[in-house]
Structures are given as structure tokens and as C-alpha cells.
Symmetry: C2
Subunit: 658 residues, 2 copies
């Protein structure tokens, strides 16, 4: 269903109930561009840390506009053993809603626009019919403005021109306006003495309107209603009506209701995001980091500077996220799926050993035909993302004894994939962990090389030709990371470079040390994976607390990690301070968190899901857990999380944050 500015208000009820009824939601966004600085390939460097990636995307991607938002709700019908879907395709545009509302500027990137144009994207619909929106701060500013005006008013119209320093009494009327004001007074006196109900003054300046308001308020404290109106030419003029007290109150009440409605209209599409957030339901996306960042940035608050603050805001807005690209790149899927791009993934998940899910479009909704692709329409992309999730979730059910054909969106089996957002092109940190600390690979085999800007990849290959297979990840024009295949050659390479003049080689550890010296001290994860109550700074502070306010209203669900919710993030057999040790120990032979995910980017590892699963004895335990939790949706995830730790631990061997 296409939703535009015109149809938005009438569709709201349908959308709200679709979200309420859903088992899970799938989302997708289309943007006016990807990077306003370095090329996208530079923006997604293979050696980025999650902090670096976040900081680059925040800096170079957030000034684009998310102008199409796809939402597809999936409701499972037990009796018919199939899903019913409702797909919405929202067009979004920050139409300035009044003279004083923010006049948003956004960037367009030619290549992105050209790409969308070639896919038949309808820009006219965006710019002519896009639904407006406000973030939290803009919304509350607007509410305050209305309130302030109302309380200042006392029925005297719109004194937005009254400055804080000016007095309310009879004002000093500048000489040159005295005649003008006297004529207005004469007109009002005439009005009061004749049978007319209303008199309209000529259009005049804001300052003159202010003089009129103040003079009339002082001279005629009762019996008048004064209002600023706009004519066809957008000129503002004052209309004065005779009213009794009842009438005046009624007019004020009407005005108040009109303003409330205007305000809701201005909040516009953000209301949909609030509803999704409030539902607390599983939100599925494909390669969704940018979608999540844009959604929060555009409809909630400017993104905080620090990654940890972003994670906290995100958990507040979207308490349960699942990225199908990360899922498809992880055991047991990564061995079966060769191409994790959305279109290819959807195709592969129709073939054995997977099964196309049974899905029907709800009545009154346009059905999408996956045979004739409508890729890059956000509503369609959200729809097939949901299909991919169902296929993969159901596939997990085939490992249960007895196998289950349907795995619910609430199943513990999919919890290991919660809140891990795919990180493009980072081989050894395949995901950003939104609900806990990130993986910290040692990168012992990585060198940081700086060189003249004339150098190309081939020069690096030549430089390292004696060191066997290397991988190059460019940082900028004059530096790159080079990964060696043999650890013992690292020191040799560093030593060699001491005599070089044109280039310089550092170990990754040296590079990180130098870097950290140059940046602010980062907030550290505490023993239990969460830091002490966060010492927020500046903008981040406001942003996070604005969202927290809303979260609190919603019933204290995973609002922010305060002391009493800490436990839910603590594992049974250890805590986060032990993580790096565990990892180092595991490196020598056994499985490690990194290894398990490294395959996502193509390198070979020895583990796979099928072998690890029985090892932990998890598979046999799971059916019961599954059956127990099948139809319960936890109000707080605390208990359930603790119960499932043993399970997921054995299964995926990734940090146990859930």
C-alpha cells in the first residue's frame, strides 16, 4: 500500500493495527545518497573497527534524506499455517510546515539518484506527496511554542512578535506608526458601534501587527477576538471580531484543537516509527545498519557522537533487531548461501534445502510478485526481507527433534541473531553488536602502511611480493592496511621498512595506540558488559535522554542499562571482562568468536554449525525450550535471556550478550 501525505491520516489506523497484530516487522529505507565524502569503498574499509565505521557513516551519510520507507508486517495464522502480510510503502519529504518550521537541507548523490531513477523511482511522488516528519526535539519545541503562545495569549491572538524584553503595558509607539495605529483604533471603535461582526485590516508588517495586538489588548481588554490571517498572496493581515466571553472561549477551544491537529500532522511519519518502537516487536532488515542510523537520525534525534551512545539509543528505539544479511552470513547458512545480496538471497532461499514460506497478502493490500522483481521499492524490499527471515528461521527448525516446519519470530532459536548488524566488508568483525561490546580481533598480522599518494594497489603488491599472499584495505590516498598471511613475517616487514624513505610500516597495535592518543578517551564497558551510568556529553546527552523519555512512557522496557537490568546482560559463567581472555585462549586450537564469523567474508574456518551444535548438546535441549516459549512474548527479556544462555552459547559460539 502506497502511503503519501494525502492518504497518511486516513491510513494511520490501518498501519497501527497492522503493527499491533504482527508477529514481526520488516523494514527498508531508500536514501538520496550514501557518502558525501570519500567513495563508498573508502567508507567501508575492511579494517574498520565498529567505532570507526559508525563514526564515518555518521559523518558522511546522515545528510542524505531517507525519502522512502518500507514497512511490511507479518502475522502468522496458526490455523492456516501461513503468514499474512501487509506491506506499506511510505513517501517521505520534510515539507516545511509553517514559516517558522525548520527548512531542511539534504544532499543528493548523483550516482544514487541516477540508480534509483533507472529503477523507475518516482521522485515526483516524494517531493509533491511526501509525508512530513519531525524529530523529538523539533516536536517538543513546537509543542512548547504552541503552549507558550496559548498561555501568553489570554485570548489576544498571536503575540509571537512580543519579545521577552518588551512590556505588556501601553507600548511606546514610534512616531511614524502613530497615525496608523490611531486609524486602527478608530476602525475598532466603529466596529463596536455598528452592526458588523468583523473588520479586516490591511496587510501590514510584523512590527505593525505587534503594535496593533498590544494597543488593542490594552485599550479593549474584553469583547474582541483578534487573529492574524493570511490572504491569497501570502500577506498577513489582522481580523478583528466582536465576541462575548462564551464565544471567545469557544473560538479559543477550536483553535486549540486545530493546533493539536496541525501538530500531529507535522509530526507526521515519525508517528509510524514511534508505533514500531512502542510495539517492541522484532524488526527485521537486510544489511540494516544504515537504515537504523537514518531512521533514528531523521525521526528521533541527531546521532550521538559515540558508538556506545548510539547503541543505547538504538536499543531504546528498536529493542529487537535482526539483520538477514548477517544471519545469511552466519552458520548454518553461510556454507549454503553463496550470495547474500537481497535479491540473490531471496532466490536461493526458495531452493533446497530451504523452502519458500507460505505467505499471503492480507485483503486490501497490493500483493507483490517475487517473480517480477520490484527491487529497490522500499515496501517490496521490506517484504522479501521478511520472506528471507522466515525461510531461514524455518530452516533452523529442521535441526530440532522432531523437526519443526514453522519457527516463530519469538523462538529462542533466532535469539543468537538479535541486535547484530552486518558490517560491510569487515572480515574479522562481521557485525556490530548493538546490545553489548563488539568483537575485538587482535589483527596481529595486519600492518599499517603510509606512502606517497601516487602509489596504487599494485605498488603495495610489489612491495610485499616477498611476503606471500597479502590483502590490501585502503584507508585513504596515502595509507592502507596490509594483512599478511603469515604472522611470523610481520616483524620482518616492519624491520625492513626502517631503511625506507618513501613509505612507513607500523603494526596494527602501534597504529591503534597512536590513534587512541589522538582521540578522546572512550567510555569503557564495565565488568558486566555495560558501563557505569553513562557520562554523556553535549548533544549526545540531549539526544539520548529525549529518546529515553519516550521509552519510559512505554513501560520501562529495556530503557537504558541501569543497575537493575544489568543482570540480564551478564552471562552465567563469566562476564565481559573475561571476554578478551577467553578469546585469546580459544585462538589456540578451539573455536573462537572471530573464527566463527570470519567466514562471512570468505575466508575458510574449520567450524560449522552442524558440528558445533551437537557438541554443546544444545539441539536436544532446544525443542522443549522452543515449545515452552513458542506463544509467549516476554514483557521483559530478562528471564528468557538467562534461560537461553546455555543454548545459544553452544550453538553459535559468539559472545553471550543475550
Amino acid at each position: 500500500m502506497e502511503v503519501t501525505r494525502q492518504s497518511f491520516k486516513d491510513t494511520l489506523r490501518v498501519i497501527y493495527s497492522a503493527v499491533d497484530d504482527a508477529d514481526f516487522l520488516a523494514i527498508d529505507g531508500e536514501f538520496s545518497g550514501l557518502s558525501d565524502g570519500p567513495a563508498v569503498s573508502m567508507l567501508t574499509n575492511g579494517m574498520d573497527t565498529p567505532e570507526e565505521r559508525y563514526s564515518k557513516l555518521r559523518k558522511h551519510s546522515m545528510d542524505f534524506l531517507l525519502f522512502q520507507f518500507g514497512l511490511c508486517t507479518f502475522r502468522y495464522d496458526q490455523s492456516r499455517a501461513q503468514y499474512f502480510t501487509k506491506a506499506f510503502n511510505f513517501y517521505i519529504f520534510p515539507k516545511p510546515f509553517s514559516r517558522s518550521s525548520p527548512d531542511i537541507k539534504f544532499i543528493c548523490q548523483s550516482s544514487s539518484i541516477e540508480f534509483l531513477a533507472s529503477q523507475g523511482f518516482d521522485f515526483n511522488k516524494v517531493f509533491r506527496d511526501g509525508i512530513p516528519y519531525l524529530n523529538q526535539e523539533e516536536e517538543s519545541q513546537l509543542r512548547e511554542q504552541y503552549e507558550e503562545r496559548r498561555s501568553q495569549n489570554n485570548g489576544v491572538g498571536t503575540p509571537s512578535y512580543i519579545s521577552p524584553t518588551s512590556c505588556k503595558g501601553p507600548m511606546n509607539i514610534p512616531e511614524e506608526h502613530k497615525d496608523f495605529i490611531n486609524r486602527v483604533i478608530e476602525k475598532v471603535e466603529a466596529l463596536l458601534n455598528n452592526s458588523e461582526k468583523t473588520v479586516s485590516l490591511e496587510p501590514c508588517s510584523g512590527f505593525q501587527r505587534k503594535l496593533i495586538y498590544q494597543t488593542l489588548n490594552w485599550k479593549f481588554p474584553k469583547g474582541l477576538h483578534i487573529e492574524t490571517v493570511e490572504n491569497d498572496k501570502k500577506e498577513r493581515f489582522i481580523q478583528i471580531s466582536k465576541v462575548d466571553e462564551d464565544e471567545r472561549r469557544r473560538i479559543e477551544q477550536q483553535k486549540h484543537e486545530r493546533e493539536q491537529e496541525e501538530l500531529n500532522d507535522a509530526v507526521g511519519f515519525s508517528r509510524i516509527i514511534h508505533a514500531i518502537s512502542k510495539s517492541g516487536k522484532l524488526v527485521v532488515g537486510h544489511n540494516m545498519l544504515l537504515d537504523v542510523m537514518h531512521t533514528i537520525h531523521q525521526f528521533y534525534c541527531p546521532l550521538p557522537e559515540e558508538l556506545d551512545d548510539f547503541k543505547e539509543v538504538t536499543m531504546c528505539v528498536f529493542p529487537r533487531l535482526l539483520d538477514t544479511k548477517l544471519m545469511a552470513s552466519t552458520q548454518p547458512f553461510k556454507e549454503l548461501i553463496t550470495n547474500t545480496s537481497l535479491a540473490e538471497l531471496e532466490k536461493q532461499l526458495k531452493e533446497k534445502p530451504f523452502k519458500a514460506p507460505k505467505v499471503e497478502c492480507s485483503e486490501g493490500f497490493q500483493s507483490y510478485d517475487t517473480a517480477s522483481e520490484q527491487l529497490h521499492e522500499a515496501g517490496y524490499d521490506a517484504y522479501i526481507t521478511g520472506l528471507c527471515f522466515i525461510s531461514m528461521a524455518n530452516y533452523l527448525g529442521s535441526f530440532l527433534t522432531p523437526p519443526r516446519a514453522h519457527i516463530s519470530a519469538r523462538s529462542k532459536l533466532i535469539e543468537p541473531f538479535y541486535n547484530k548488524l552486518f558490517l560491510m566488508r569487515v572480515a574479522d568483525i562481521p557485525y556490530m553488536n548493538i546490545s553489548g561490546p563488539d568483537l575485538q580481533p587482535k589483527r596481529d598480522n595486519v600492518l599499517y602502511v603510509t606512502f606517497p599518494k601516487e602509489w596504487k594497489t599494485s605498488d603495495l603488491y610489489q612491495l610485499f611480493s616477498a611476503f606471500g599472499n597479502i590483502q590490501v584495505s585502503w584507508v585513504d590516498d596515502t595509507s592502507a592496511f596490509v594483512s599478511l598471511s603469515q604472522l611470523e613475517q610481520v616483524q620482518i616487514a616492519v624491520n625492513t621498512s626502517q631503511y625506507a624513505e618513501s613509505y612507513r610500516i607500523q603494526t596494527y597495535a602501534e597504529y591503534m595506540q597512536a590513534k587512541q592518543k589522538n582521540t578522546h578517551t572512550h567510555r569503557k564497558w564495565g565488568d558486566d558488559g555495560w558501563a557505569e551510568p553513562p557520562p554523556y556529553r553535549g548533544v549526545a546527552m540531549t539526544a539520548v535522554s529525549a529518546v529515553q523519555d519516550r521509552c519510559t512512557v512505554r513501560g520501562k522496557r529495556s530503557i537504558s542499562p541501569t543497575q537493575d537490568t544489568h543482570n540480564s546482560f551478564t552471562t552465567a559463567d563469566g562476564n565481559w571482562s573475561d571476554y578478551s581472555n577467553t578469546k585469546r585462549i580459544k585462538k589456540d586450537g578451539a573455536l573462537s568468536a572471530d573464527d566463527s564469523f570470519a567466514g562471512a567474508a570468505g575466508s575458510k574456518t574449520t567450524d560449522d554449525w552442524l558440528r558445533t551444535a551437537p557438541k554443546g548438546g544444545a539441539a536436544s535441549q532446544r525443542p522443549e525450550t522452543e515449545a515452552q516459549s513458542e506463544d509467549t512474548w516476554p514483557q521483559s527479556s530478562t528471564n528468557q535471556n538467562q534461560g537461553s544462555q546455555a543454548t545459544s552459547s553452544g550453538l553459535f559460539d559468539v559472545p553471550q550478550v543475550w
Copy 2:
């Protein structure tokens, strides 16, 4: 006529001949926004100097996209005593033309987009069918790239991957690629021994393609044609063909021609601007400063930092400009025209004492109906701008003896309006003089006031309530210019403020002094209005000389103000060093340059065109001049300018720079 990417090439000939045949051209541009920083009202402060205005527009307006360009050519048919028009409406979009071409980012301003959307603007046509373009530097870079590739080539395909440091000989092939390269060699050997003509390799990486090119070039120096081709999935692969020398040369020649055509396609819309520029014809626009800035910035070169450099580039690209808004705001029109907005102006110029011009649309061109407005379509706006110009020019003819109904675009009567671009909202500097120094009003009655950011206009009115009528021009949140009506009160106001704590008052002279201390030293106009050969710096240098190169090719027309053209800018009875003196003397009673134009923004002056004209005895002289010059188009404006000085001097009483 609508011109898009698809129809552009086929329409080129029609456009070129329309420009060639025209008596004058009218242009208009539509942009994706106006200001990416301060509100437009701040951008056009009433006390801006031309330097300040230019610098603000350059800083805050140039990142928007000029995405629709209107060009209307006007040809006068003597025998039928009417104009024939050809209107073109170009859609423009910087579609990246290859992988390596610049991926332009541009800003959109919601309010501008919303406004255009409400006027029915077709964004889909811009983004899907917009004509691409390159500026001069991008064009020459591209030409160089092609040339470089050709010369490096010697028939060995596309070695764009060969870095400057790599050798041409047998290359060090990294271990892991050796198998791959050996398999390629086997395939080529098989090709040479079988009856096939061509073999296509599998898609591979850029580095692998480089290895293939170099290896094959070294191993098989003759008899092969190697080419990189793209498949449907946009993957690149190498195609190898057996060829003899003749065939190889033919293929190379074809490739060269294809590349030349590609290059021309990439230059795209800029070719139209080059043609306009080359024609040297009068280019008319309405309130055209932004149009001129955008056109130069987008299709020629990034705008230079200094205003003087901009003027020079502009005179090079558009040697004859005329702004109908400035014309309408000047004597003899300003007394007759109450509203100079384009739509209103067009309406008023149909009524007495003006006359709607006789204009017919050329065959094959869509005719515009001025009764049903299509305002803000660039082609239409250009068309009615041309109509306005004709009406006003013809009106000037009514003052001749005998009166003339038709005044040519080449007439001396309109020369006083050449190259003066309307400056929005600056009362005492109504225009930016592109071909000479700007007016320098003393602003003795102006105060610069700084104050707390809570202050509003009314606070300033209150502060100055003792000083009579004032005018306020906001600079930013905490400062504004305040013009007093009485000069003698200036010092009183300054003195008063010495005891104030919250605000501060400076004279305009003090403000300018402080400002100049903080900026670089500005290039000064010499005695004759032009500086010594300009000492350009950095970017400006490149920009200007790039355009000058093109200008020189066009036959040395007013390229840059060198010594031998200086005279044309010198007045008969004085020169620019005397200007400020003259002005000061004239202040006491007689006419002054500022006074004559101040009326443009509403203040009353004593002079008018009708009275000054006979005074100088100009009107009686003019018919002859007019008749003489009627059908001649001066190759250089030098002589003509000298001849007309006396005339224009008496006529408009503005600085005599032409």
C-alpha cells in the same frame, strides 16, 4: 521546446542556429535551493557591499544544482516588424558518465523543492532524463585521460591500471595469481592455433586484468586486440581477438571516434553555454546574479574567491548582460513600475505607457501563452524576460525625435543597462557592476549595533525611539545595521552607547575598518577603474585562466582588462579616482549617482530621467547615434562606448563605466 538527455544530440544543430540567428538571448535557471546556511533574508542584507553579497552567495548558494535552464532566442524580422522566438527548456542532471567520472553531490532545500513541486515541476524528468555536463577542468581532465590512454596504449587495450611506478616489462606476478595467468596464456595460445576469432575470459579483478594486459603485451606483442568489456551484471571481463595490423588500426580508429563522441556527450549541456558565450550576444535575465553565478560555477569553473576575479570571468563568459529587474528599477521605468517581480512586470509592460511587443513563436516551437502563466518553468521565464526587455527597450524609443517604435538589442539606448546585475534589497547600491568598480556609498547615517541574541527588531526600535525614523538590516543573531534618518544624530547615538553594557554602537566607517583589518587586502581598482594586471591567487587563478583560454580562442573579445582596453572604461571628464569626490560634491544639492538609484528601493529622489535627459542635450543627439548604430554589431565595444559616453552620462547620471 523541451530538451532532455535523449533529444539533446538531435536538437544541438537547432539550438546552435537559433543562437546564431538571434538578436538577443534570454535565460533563466531553476535551482534545487537558495541558501544552505542563513535564511535568504540574512543572505541578502540591506547593507551588504557587493563583495559581501558575492561572498555570501558563493559560500551558501553554489552547492545547489541548477537543474533546469531556460533559453529563449529572439530574432527581429525587419520586414514584418516583429520578433520570432525559439524557447528551449533544458533539463539538467550530472549523471555520472563513467566509473571514474565525478559523482556530484548537490544540496536540496526543502522549501525550494516544495515550491517547485507546487508549481508542477517535473523532478522525474530532471533525474531520469537530465542532460549531463562537465566544467572546463573536468572536460580537459577527461580529454587528457583519453589521450594518455591512447598514447600508452599502442594497441594494447586499456592499461588504466598501470601505475606510474610500474614497469612495462614482464611483471612480477604474485604467487597466487600465477596459475590464473598461466591459464590465460594457454587460452590465448589455443586461440592463435584454432579457427575462432575471439575468446572472452571470465570476469576478474582490476589487478588481474592489469596482469593479463601486461603479460599478453609482453608475450604477444603483435596480432592481438585486447579489450575490457562489461557484461549485463556490470562485471568487467577481457575479450581477446586475433587481428592483423590493418584490422588493429581500424579498431583503434573506431575506438577513438567512439571516445570522442562519448567525450562530447559527457560535456553535454556545457556546450550550449559555450555556444551562448561564443556568440557574444546580449544575454538578458531577470534578477540574474544567481543565474550567472550558477551557470559559471556549474559549466565553467568553480567561482573565484574574490569579486573582481568573478567579474573578470563573467565578462569573459557573458560579455553583454542585461538585467530586466535592474532596468525596471531604474529611470525612466522606476516611476512607472510599482512591482518588479517578473510576473507583475510582464503584466505592467502590456499596459500604457508601455506596449506588448509583437512576438511570434518560430515554426516547430511550442508557443507560450502569457495569459495562462507557466511561471517557474525556466523556458517560460526566459521567454517573458525577453518580452519585458523588448517592451522597455521600445519605450526608450518613444523619447527620440522622431519617436521610434522598435529599439534594437544593439541600440546605444540600452547600453547604460549593460552588465549591471540587480542587487536584491540593497537600497544604496542597486546593482553589481560587472564591467567596472561598484558604487561606494558613504553610509554616514548607518550605525552597526551589536546586542544580546534575545533582542528582536522591536528592541532596536525601542532603543532608537528618540532618533526618529530608522531602518533595520539584520546581519546575524547579535548584530544589525540601523540607518538613521538624520545625519546629525549619528554621533549622539554613538556617544549614548558608551555607557551601555548590553549593546554597542559603531559607525559604519568604524565597522568597515575593523572588517578590513580582519580580511585579506583587497585588490584595488586603478585610476581608470581597472587594476594593474591582476595578481591572482590559487584556485581563482586556475579558474580565470581556464576560461580565458577559451575566450582567446573566440577572437580576443574583451577578454581581460589590459592596457589598451582601459580607455573604454574611462569617462570623458574624469576617471574613477575622482568618483568619490564628485559624489561628495554632488551630495550638496545636485544629483548624485547614489540618489539616482536609491529610488530603486523606494526612497524618494528629486531627479528623474525626463528632466535630466534634456539637460544634457542628449535626447536630440541620440536619434542620429541610434540610426547610425542600428544595424551594426560592434566587434569591439571600445569605439562605440567612447561615442556614447556623453549621451549616457546625461541620460542616467550613473557612474560612466561604459
